[in-house]
């Protein structure tokens, strides 16, 4: 078909079409963790980290790539019903990939600074916006505990208003769903798969312990980039 196009009356348009057909959909792959699966123990077990990373996150990526390919094909065919139908799978699986990619970075072993409170401009912003770090932790834990079903609790930055926010999102909705100017600084996965093997139904214990491996350095880097 590409050759036929090249030989049409409009060879230039034909070449463009050929080039467009060469353009592939970008595929995503599982990011590596910068620590071993067991390095966050005892806060989060190695068993959970391995399943969470190798199975759950990988599945979101696999399904996201598939959905994007299907979207690409249906756009090319002008198949609008399929384009519309795919939005749910893209939001869910793409969101899963986005959220987990942030999550691995916002955790760190204690010997690499996990749990160390933020200093610098993020530390000050926390005090200004919430009064204290304890207040942030308390609020995030309360929201995480109260979240029904599956979802995430976030510490975010509104980069327009330069203000910190605490938000929850349902299922795999990324933080940006709650506001186009919101950037995630820290997220806590409160899907049951994030804690069940270790903490069972006692979600509050998971929420209490995850702060011991919270990578505030990452959050501060993101904050300082948006609020130099």
């Amino acid at each position: 078909m590409a050759l036929r196009n090249l030989m049409t009356k409009k060879p230039f348009a034909g070449i463009l079409t050929f080039r467009q057909q060469l353009r592939c959909v970008q595929t995503f792959s599982l990011p590596d963790l910068s620590y071993d699966y067991g390095a966050l123990e005892p806060a989060i077990s190695g068993e959970i980290m391995q399943l969470h990373h190798q199975k759950h996150h990988q599945t979101y990526i696999t399904n996201y790539n598939n959905a994007l390919q299907q979207l690409h094909d249906s756009i090319n065919k002008g198949d609008s019903p399929t384009v519309a139908k795919l939005q749910g799978a893209i939001k869910f699986n793409g969101g899963g990939h986005i959220n987990h990619s942030v999550f691995w970075k916002n955790l760190a072993p204690t010997r690499e600074g996990g749990g160390e409170p933020p200093k610098g401009s993020l530390g000050s912003a926390i005090d200004t916006n919430f009064g204290s770090l304890e207040a942030v932790i308390q609020k995030m834990n309360a929201e995480g505990a109260a979240l029904q079903g599956s979802g995430w609790v976030w510490l975010g930055l509104d980069k327009e208003l330069k203000r910190l926010v605490i938000e929850t999102t349902a299922n795999q909705d990324p933080l940006v769903i709650k506001g186009p100017n919101l950037v995630p600084l820290l997220g806590i996965d409160v899907w049951e798969h994030a804690y069940y093997l270790q903490y069972k139904n006692v979600k509050p214990d998971y929420l209490k312990n995850i702060w011991k491996v919270m990578n505030w350095k990452y959050a501060a880097e993101v904050y300082e980039k948006e609020c130099p």
């Binding site: 399943l51 749910g88 049951e192 798969h193 139904n201």
Partner: protein, 254 residues
């Protein structure tokens, strides 16, 4: 063991399906509420008539009854912690309110509030959903439906195999937490597959529930981890109680 057993919830299905055994109800107390409502006869799940104070079903549950397909460990947490918490919290929420004294189904419909749920909805619906789930299973379950149920499945899905395929797909693709249901629509007298998020159930759609599978991760994570499709397959092959489903259909179409 709850002594004043005029308030025991009996089920048409559990005794037949052998959910007997040493009492595991030592933690299930009759509420010490002053009001004691007479419990209406429970004539199957089409219209459970639970009254306040709601209880865990008092029929003794042998936690390993569904082994090896659903572990006793899962039961210990799913029934003993999750389900129990919904019931306990519901009782606390409605005590002394105008929901006090209503049937559980009425509470669900009232608190659903046409899609903007009120605080008690989650606990009420989840208490109902879990009870319904336990009674959708039996030891040595599985097999295939028969009689009127099979007739309707063939009529509305084309074949039993197609139904199974679609039910499994619904259960596997309920994003996040939720439930998959086979339901009966009284309006057009047809069967329907429904998947619902979190605590929602087909009652709020005006349907009669016939069968459910819990696809919250806590339902399968200890036994299957991320492998929800494997859990769904085992449920269909080894756990589902077609007698329960048929009975519910009979009541719905009576």
């Amino acid at each position: 063991m709850a002594a004043a057993n005029s308030l025991s919830l009996t089920s048409a299905f559990l005794p037949r399906h052998g959910f007997h055994g040493p009492s595991h109800n030592q933690n299930v107390q009759l509420s010490t509420q002053k009001k004691q409502f007479a419990r209406k006869a429970v004539s199957g799940w089409a219209s459970p008539a639970w009254n306040f104070p709601y209880q865990m079903f008092s029929v003794s549950v042998l936690e390993d009854a569904l082994e090896p397909h659903m572990s006793s460990r899962t039961f210990e947490f799913h029934w003993g912690k999750h389900h129990r918490a919904y019931v306990d919290n519901l009782n606390k929420q409605i005590d002394g309110t105008e929901l006090d004294g209503k049937t559980l189904e009425d509470i669900i419909l009232i608190t659903y509030n046409k899609g903007s749920p009120l605080p008690a909805f989650n606990n009420a619906a989840q208490a109902w959903n879990h009870q319904f789930f336990w009674e959708s299973m039996k030891p040595n379950g599985g097999g295939e439906p028969s009689g009127k149920l099979l007739e309707l499945i063939n009529r509305d899905f084309g074949s039993y195999d197609t139904f199974v395929k679609e039910f499994k797909a619904a259960a596997a693709t309920q994003f996040g937490s939720g439930w998959a249901w086979l339901a009966y629509k009284p309006e057009d007298k047809k069967l329907a597959l429904v998947k619902t998020p979190n605590a929602e159930n087909p009652l709020v759609l005006g349907y009669t529930a016939l069968l459910t599978i819990d696809v919250w991760e806590h339902a399968y994570y200890l036994d299957f981890q991320n492998r929800r499709p494997d859990y769904i397959s085992i449920f269909m092959e080894k756990l589902v109680s077609w007698e329960a489903v048929s009975s519910r259909l009979k009541t719905a179409t009576a």
